[in-house]
Symmetry: C2
Subunit: 267 residues, 2 copies
DNA sequence: AATCAATGTCCGCTATAATGTACAAGTGAT
DNA sequence: ATCACTTGTACATTATAGCGGACATTGATT
């Protein structure tokens, strides 16, 4: 019926005149990232957009209650309407309940921190998290965007793409790990394929130096990985209980997979 | 430092060429209302927008993951990104936790159904609800838009507006009650003023014929009504326990009011 | 077969939205 | 007092986004 040109979702930076809609969502994403109200001018500067455009868009978004004045001094932040729209999404694809139950179960059996993760555009994000029995400082907060190659889940979340698509999909600079080293895309892709075959991926976290990460895929009706369940454990614990932990994760993911309540992956 | 032109929020309907952004959010609101995936063509027809425009916008929104393919046959629905944005909003104005606690408390003390309500544009909506001990069919679902004059909470939610602003704000046809009768705007306004003075409004529901509704305001730091707590009880129960219920509601609202976690009302 | 309605695509026209630029006002440092 | 900087507003220009309308498919109904 159609085949989208596969625009790589990237808001394309080279365009001379950006489209209002794209700019608008760029603003929203930026605010989400900042996690705090900002002034239009500041937004314009930071996202590298013309001031006049940003002012106009911000006013439009305010009118629609997509943005709200917040924090005084003309600062704006994400608005109530987004909350309502998000709630409507959640209601339609009601994965949160089962998801919460799955995390609960994992946390109960393993006493470790467990997470439910997805892709947001071309980044990885933690959608829900359940702290383990002895909580320790986890590097990635809920809702924080993280480069895909930095994470165990990342190996599974792009498994439905071809090699070339993976290359095109992930921003090149995201292959630079937090320690400065570069991860060879070919190596990453090999890990992706292996992870998909085994239905799991585990490694010592790249982001910190004391945890071991486990990830297993959550599949939609078409057996595509739309999300992951993962588990973050202190390294010794992780190594020691490896098989038990993996089994637990897989049991949980099995229960989630294929449910109609899991949102399908487009394309 | 500035005074926004105060654009009266009206999405201006007379415009010849609608702005893409407005159309886009019109689509999103429409989908929220429908609560199910729809085809672009159908959307265009129902919201009375040019087909070509809607197709273009839908594609743009798909690219940004604001919409997702869902339900097959090219149907689209609200997308994951909206969920993420909504979550970010919720985190910033973290009223849900206290709110949930307040509802819990009310439900526990009264055994009746309690709700947390706000304005969504120029409509009333139930943001959260806690079913009472003996749940009965409540007319208004969570997330459903309802005309302001139909609800007890409506009397409080517009209390910060002047008479004229109230008239301008509420769509004229919303003064027609579900039974077909017209509520005189002047009468409504009088009720608004009284409700605000007493810090409460109660009446036999207009929407159904067997419940009595109680509403009390939740105030922000500027003492403006940004939300309401309300309680829906069978009529006899409502009349009988009137004072007790009101007291309970007011205690709960007191705890919520003025918290920084309550989102401020713009303008 | 023929007709009609519903759906998706394509393309040219033009109203207008995005932009650059100039201006004004406030703030703080020197 | 002067400069540098940040923030918000106003306006003219032009690239383009929204629109109308033609066309192609499909599937149901006659």
């Amino acid at each position: 019926m159609e085949t989208r040109p596969l625009d790589t979702a990237a808001p394309t930076s080279t365009a001379k005149r950006a489209r209002g809609l794209d700019r608008a969502f760029e603003i929203l994403d930026f605010l989400r990232d900042q996690k705090s109200p900002m002034r239009p001018n500041e937004i314009a500067v930071q996202i590298g957009a013309p001031r006049s455009s940003v002012y106009e868009l911000v006013n439009l978004l305010l009118r629609n209650e997509i943005l709200e004045l917040a924090g005084g001094d003309g600062r704006v932040f994400l608005g109530r309407k987004l909350y309502f729209l998000g709630a409507a999404y959640e209601e339609q694809f009601d994965f949160t309940r089962e998801c919460e139950a799955a995390l609960e179960m994992i946390a109960h059996e393993t006493r470790e921190t467990s997470q439910f993760c997805m892709l947001d555009g071309n980044k990885y994000i933690v959608v829900r998290m359940k702290e383990g029995a002895r909580p320790f400082r986890i590097s990635s907060d809920v809702g924080q965007s993280v480069p895909i190659p930095w994470t165990a889940s990342g190996r599974l979340l792009v498994a439905h793409l071809s090699d070339q698509e993976i290359i095109d999909f992930i921003p090149p600079q995201d292959f630079q790990l937090p320690n400065g080293e570069w991860l060879e895309p070919a190596v990453f892709i090999r890990e992706v394929r292996e992870a998909w075959l085994k239905g799991e991926f585990t490694f010592d976290s790249i982001v910190d130096s004391f945890t071991h990460c486990f990830a297993v895929p959550v599949l939609d009706a078409n057996r595509r990985c739309v999300a992951t369940l993962c588990l973050v454990a202190p390294r010794e614990d992780g190594i020691e209980n490896r098989e038990e932990y993996l089994l637990c994760l897989k049991r949980a993911s099995q229960r989630l997979s294929g449910q109609t309540s899991v949102p399908p992956l487009s394309r």
